[in-house]
């Protein structure tokens, strides 16, 4: 937890009101972003994202599984987040459970879309191998290594980068007439890339006083009354939304926050895309 004196709190709030924050940023300015891909060789795709003092890793693993009965033409995606005790001593043991669960739920809500799959980050029907029999299960794991606020945006960005780094092995299916079960041969040389252009980014607007800011540090987050996280895709469509914090919000404020988030997201997507391209060129 952040321990702040009255003076410091006043300084943070005053700065935000005057559009110059304690680290010199404007209200709608992000901290420096750095991106690295392929950090976990065992995974199908992985990425490390640093956003100021916040550092997260996301990894994507693909396993062959069976599609659910309700959606036989779709694969499955699971998202889990874990907070490492290196980020904060209180995360030791079960201390991070609540935060991890909150982050996982928010990411699932923002990235998996509606139950029919509309607005999802990943087209689930592209994960199917044999209809109703074999599909890819994607396990997306997020790990918070260092925490300085705005974890959700950093995790979503890391997942987007990790997905663009992901290669799904090519499979050849041979149906033998003897048994019903198709035989699946997984290639370890040929990989298929994901189309990640529709993966949304999450922009969290943190409300401090009457203003709201993007990419809040943990000190700024300690002064928030509430925060709204909006996930927006490249077309400027809202794909998910969650609100945190106890204070209620006026409906007009929420609508205003959504439109600001949409505006900011387009800049962030462009920035992230160029970082992804640079990271992949380095490899």
């Amino acid at each position: 937890m952040v321990g702040l004196s009255e003076g410091e709190k006043h300084f943070i709030r005053g700065g935000i009101a005057q559009d110059i924050r304690t680290d010199g940023r404007k209200r709608l300015q992000f901290r420096a972003l750095s991106v690295e891909t392929g950090v976990i060789p065992q995974a199908n795709g992985s990425a490390r994202v640093r956003l100021g003092g916040t550092e997260v890793i996301a990894s994507v693993k693909a396993e062959l599984g069976k599609p659910s009965i309700l959606h036989p033409d779709k694969g499955k995606v699971n998202i889990f987040v874990d907070c490492s005790p290196t980020a904060e001593p209180t995360f030791e043991g079960r201390g991070s459970e609540e935060l991890s669960a909150e982050l996982s739920v928010a990411l699932q809500r923002c990235l998996l879309g509606g139950k029919s799959g509309a607005g999802a980050a990943i087209d689930l029907s592209s994960l199917i191998v044999v209809d109703g029999k074999v599909c890819w299960d994607l396990y997306i794991d997020g790990l918070v290594i260092s925490s300085d606020g705005n974890l959700l945006d950093a995790l979503a960005a890391a997942i987007k980068v990790a997905l663009s780094d992901t290669g799904i092995p090519k499979v050849t299916v041979s149906v033998s007439t003897a048994s019903d079960e198709p035989e699946v041969d997984v290639s370890d040389e040929e990989f298929l890339q994901f189309d990640t252009s529709s993966v949304p980014v999450i922009i969290t607007l943190t409300k401090v006083g009457r203003q709201y800011i993007v990419d809040a540090t943990s000190e700024e987050e300690s002064q928030m009354s509430s925060a709204v996280s909006v996930s927006v895709n490249r077309h400027g469509h809202v794909c998910g939304l969650t609100k945190r914090g106890g204070a209620g919000l006026d409906p007009t404020v929420i609508f205003d926050m959504i439109s600001v988030a949409k505006h900011v997201s387009q800049q962030f997507i462009t920035l992230l895309d160029s970082e992804i391209a640079a990271a992949q060129a380095e490899e």
Binding site: G248, P251, S259
Partner: protein, 253 residues
Amino acid sequence: MHLLGRAPVIRRGGRWHTQFPAMSSSAATGTYSPAAEAGGKRREKREELRRHLAEDADWPRADNRSFHECREAFLRTGATTAASGSAYAEFGKTKVIVSVFGPRESKKAMMYSDVGRLNCNVSYTTFATPVRGQVIILELIIVLASITKGDLPIIISCASLALADAGIMMYDLVTSVSVNIIIDPTSDEEAWQDGSLMVSYMPSRKEITQLTLTGEWTDGKITNAVELCMDACSKLCDILRNHLKETANLASE
């Protein structure tokens, strides 16, 4: 029941078409549906959505409701005796019991806090879900749900009723309604949705306390859906408030 004295009762004159004057002594039933006029200045946009909905929505819903009709609400306070306050709510086939215990001293293991804490705990009965014994833990005060889903908003509304029954001071009754393209979905409808949106709202303060959204939405749709939910919330809140008043009157007599 401090709450009743504090919070002004807002009635939107004549707009709310419920059938609930025939309430029994301690229970209220009523359907409530958001009015077309909600959010007056955006009426035209709303009409557009309605037309759009009408075009899409030419099939009957599984439970014979029209597309803007909420399920019948049955409410009762004082459902359990051991708790300091409790409420029972039945929205169609979804049944929820909420009990409030306390206030009591917080556990030593918890971190010090200068504000109060509301511990919430939700459990599903083993026979509540289609697959027996499938237990899902959410958040909220000792809740016992049964039979169908589509339930988080109902749990929230029921919990605020129980809190009021326990005589806990609140800013306002929080009510909650979810919508996908149709309002107040049942679990079958939920399984095929393109997206959903849930609003928790305090009508007297005109404040949204929770807003969640999944699926792909355009700006106009979000605005419309949120206004639709807010209107339904206000009406549900009126029903809750009336029920509380009635019980309080009954008790004082």
